[in-house]
């Protein structure tokens, strides 16, 4: 069995309001799978269905091979779920919470202390383990939730916008955490509306909008589909370079920029760069500087929904 999460026609409606229309997803073992989309796209509803908190109105889904509707308990014991909003945890200390939740995950009594230390260590909270939750900063509270998601070494980690509202340092910590869990062999479902985050962490993403998958693939493939990469070259002999490369099959378009640098629009910059260098060397054209840029997932979103992600965020 390769798919750890598979959904077929999964949907949820509240009366006339359609939160998720019909989702077909397949997340492979060991994937870091990004669920992308603007606020209100149906990410959280999807996650609440996959974590058995919400019964779907249509379709079905399996997590680790278990049906979310008929085998909810088996699903729950295999997932670690970190909610979007930090859970309120009152007057207890970080360590107390982690130990209590370890017991709720049926960690054998003798191992509870050790397991708690391990989870707190994984998110760098050991030095603050005995402080009360109320004294924690926003980033620390989030990290405590992340630690609690690890207590039963889950096969699947479900993270709902884990870096929302965090400072840069805390975001990096969360990213490290995701990578560590991936290296441990966990499958990770990551909902986010930060495209750069998905780009950094995910090997597969599905962009959803209004409860349907708009497009799915690796970040690189999706960006490639947007169109051309851009290679900018600074050289003292731009005109000559232009004529030499003009006939190459990988060139889509050439523009001489006002600044005097040559802009090559190419299919794949990673292939174009060495080719340009080789040609320069062969023809004796000195290349002073080369830079390239790829389209971002923002461009992907724009292409497939006709809307900018930021605009949608502001609108909702």
């Amino acid at each position: 069995m390769s798919a750890v999460i598979e959904t077929s026609g999964l949907g949820k409606s509240y009366g006339a309001h359609l939160a998720v229309e019909s989702l077909d997803l397949e997340v492979g073992r060991g994937d870091v799978f990004g669920l992308l989309g603007p606020n209100g796209a149906g990410k959280t509803t999807t996650i609440r269905m996959l974590t058995t908190l919400l019964a779907p109105t249509v379709g079905s889904a399996r997590v680790c091979g278990f049906d979310i509707a008929t085998n909810a308990r088996e699903v729950r014991s295999r997932i670690g779920y970190v909610m979007q909003t930090v859970a309120y945890r009152g007057l207890l200390t970080g360590r107390e919470w982690v130990e209590i939740e370890a017991c709720l995950y049926h960690v054998p009594r003798k191992e509870v202390r050790h397991k708690a230390e391990e989870a707190l260590g994984a998110v760098g909270l050991l030095p603050d383990a005995d402080r009360r939750w109320t004294e924690y900063s926003g980033g620390m509270k989030k990290r405590l939730d992340l630690a609690c998601g690890l207590l039963h070494s889950p096969e699947v980690l479900v993270l709902d916008e884990p870096t929302l509202g965090l400072d840069v340092q805390s975001r990096h910590r969360v990213w490290d955490y995701v990578r560590e869990q991936r290296d441990r062999g966990a499958t990770i479902l990551l909902a986010t509306n930060y495209l750069d985050e998905a780009d950094r962490l995910c090997n597969n993403v599905a962009i959803i909008d209004r409860g349907v998958v708009v497009v799915e693939g690796t970040p690189a493939d999706l960006k490639r589909a947007v169109g051309a990469d851009l290679v900018q070259i600074k050289t003292d002999n731009a005109e000559r370079l232009r004529t030499v490369v003009a006939g190459e099959p990988w060139i889509k378009d050439i523009v001489m920029a006002d600044s005097g640098s040559l802009h090559l629009y190419v299919e794949d910059a990673s292939l174009a760069l060495p080719a340009v260098m080789r040609i320069g060397l062969e023809q004796g054209i000195e290349l002073e500087q080369m830079t390239y840029s790829q389209p971002s997932l923002d461009d992907v979103f724009l292409l497939h929904t006709g809307r900018e992600l930021r605009e949608t965020e502001n609108a909702s």
């Binding site: 069995m1 019964a55 278990f66 085998n71 909810a72 007057l91 939740e101 709720l104 995950y105």
Partner: protein, 283 residues
């Protein structure tokens, strides 16, 4: 996993079979973990702890000192009003605790921690049961204290030390009814505002429509009818007999009715809990 699913030839991974004793020990672990949580939360709120433990004893003193003289002792059937009031104060305490005991559940629901709990592989009953266990324990301390104060004030418990144990039992049964009922309310309401409105509306009538402060015989007929369907009445009756008269067969029938009431409230509580989590998948 059902046989039907297997027959359909769907891919179903191996489920590690959990034996009954293993399931029981897991459930115990869940309940104890949650009780630990409630316990630590109470300890960290020192003022809450002090006031809630001491309150019933203080009430007894105020009532005893203030109201006793205004009471016609022929109506209450004993010339010691504090002996009469003791059971009423205990019931009063239990109602108050029922409200404050449901609040953490209401709070978990509103802050989202309930969702966190529901995403865990725990039995749905652990949350409510842990609350019962905690409440009964906390209340037993309160009741022991209020009885001690009563003894100092000269009350004699006719049924002796064993009677105190049965008083605690009656209190525990009433606690189950009241805690289950208020927990059900906490889960049923859309927001805490409704909870407090309803609680404010029913708490005092619940007490006055019982024999807490006035014996049933002294009530007008319609009020007596209402009091007779109020579980508080049976708990108070049992406790009061144990204090004033000693052992009697009526205690058994009162406790029996109380147990039925506890069962009904528990069923309603569980139903509301399921309804609250009803849009979710069963455990």
């Amino acid at each position: 996993m059902t046989v039907d699913e297997a027959a359909l030839g769907e891919r179903i991974p191996a489920v590690r079979v959990v034996t009954r004793s293993e399931a029981r020990s897991r459930w115990m672990q869940e309940v104890l973990a949650l009780v630990r949580r409630w316990w630590i939360e109470l300890l960290r709120e020192r003022l809450n702890l002090v006031f809630s433990i001491a309150q019933p004893a203080i009430w007894l003193v105020f009532f005893g000192a203030g109201v006793e003289r205004a009471i016609d002792t022929r109506v209450i059937g004993t010339d010691d009003y504090i002996s009469f009031m003791l059971a009423g104060i205990i019931a009063f305490t239990i109602v108050g605790n029922g409200v404050s005991g449901a609040m953490p559940l209401l709070w978990d629901k509103e802050t989202g921690y309930l969702d966190r709990l529901m995403s865990m592989p725990i039995a749905r009953s652990s949350v409510i049961v842990s609350r019962f266990v905690f409440q009964v324990a906390q209340q037993s301390v309160q009741i022991t204290l209020v009885v001690a104060v009563a003894l100092v004030l000269g009350v004699r418990i006719e049924s002796g030390p064993l009677g105190l144990v049965v008083i605690l039992l009656a209190a525990a049964l009433l606690t189950m009814s009241v805690t289950a009922a208020f927990s059900a309310l906490a889960y049923a309401v859309p927001q805490h505002g409704t909870f407090f409105a309803v609680v404010g509306f029913i708490s005092l009538p619940l007490l006055f429509m019982s024999n807490a402060f006035v014996p049933l015989d002294a009530m007008p007929f319609w009020m007596r009818v209402v009091a007779r369907i109020n579980p508080l009445t049976y708990a108070i009756e049992a406790m009061r007999i144990l204090v004033i008269e000693g052992w009697s067969g009526r205690i058994v029938s009162s406790l029996g009715i109380l147990a039925v009431a506890a069962g009904i409230c528990l069923a309603v509580g569980t139903r509301e809990f399921r309804r609250q989590t009803g849009d979710r998948v069963r455990g």
